[in-house]
């Protein structure tokens, strides 16, 4: 089975600053999808951003962007101009091109300091 590793259990950032959350994965597939989910204290799971492995261009959604390094199997999330509302648990997830299984990392808890 594929594995997804988030090596930073906790991170903190000053409001308005930039923070990068890391994620690495292990797979033998050439096509797949990667996602970042945000879970605020309300416990709702919110999709932040997605990336198709066959696309070389890094995905961007407003203040959120990814640095996708396919050869290194790395998929980091950059949050620019951090806001208090960004404080949450962030999960990296992998889905193969075929099949129904999603694989999640163990999460990174992000604190935003006013």
């Amino acid at each position: 089975a594929q594995t997804v590793t988030q090596s930073q259990p906790e991170m903190s950032v000053q409001e308005a600053e930039t923070v990068t959350l890391s994620c690495t994965y292990d797979t033998s597939e050439s096509d797949y999808y990667l996602f970042w989910y945000k879970q605020p204290p309300s416990r709702q799971m919110i999709l932040v951003i997605r990336q198709e492995a066959y696309k070389q261009q890094n995905a961007t959604e407003n203040r959120f962007s990814v640095n996708f390094q396919k050869a290194a199997k790395s998929f980091s999330l950059k949050i620019s101009d951090s806001q208090l509302g960004d404080a949450a648990m962030y999960f990296c997830a992998y889905r193969g091109y075929t099949g129904n299984q999603f694989y999640f990392g163990t999460g990174t808890s992000l604190t935003v300091i006013p």
């Binding site: 416990r43 709702q44 799971m45 999709l47 997605r50 129904n100 299984q101 999640f104 163990t106 999460g107």
Partner: protein
């Protein structure tokens, strides 16, 4: 309108009881899932149904039984509840295929979770 809805939001019950959590999605997705999130926030897949057929059945005690009456619903029934069953349970859905036979870039859409507390 809520895309994936699960009820109840909170469930407090005593050991040994039987309880059910219901889930419905109105996204037209063909695959539904149950995930368990423990106190350390780890997300673990429990079951997955594709068009009402069980396709993923991880190592879960047989006290947990999923039921999918149609592809828009996936309920979870738990018998003889134990203290260790206390967790947040998430229902989710995704689209795994299309009329062309290809696979869509479909993320998981989650319900808001059910916090189960067993006392």
């Amino acid at each position: 309108d809520t895309a994936v809805s699960q009820t109840p939001k909170y469930l407090v019950t005593q050991m040994g009881n039987d309880k059910s959590i219901k889930c419905e999605q109105n996204l037209g997705h063909d695959t539904m899932y149950w995930y368990k999130q423990d106190s350390k926030k780890f997300l673990k897949i429990m079951f997955s149904y594709n068009n009402k057929e069980l396709i993923i059945n991880e190592t879960v005690p047989n006290r947990f039984s999923p039921k999918s009456p149609d592809k828009a619903h996936l309920n979870l029934h738990i018998n003889s509840l134990e203290l260790g069953d206390s967790a947040v349970y998430f229902c989710a859905s995704s689209q795994e295929g299309g009329e062309t036979g290809g696979y869509y870039n479909s993320p998981l859409h989650f319900g808001n979770g059910t916090r189960l507390t067993v006392t």
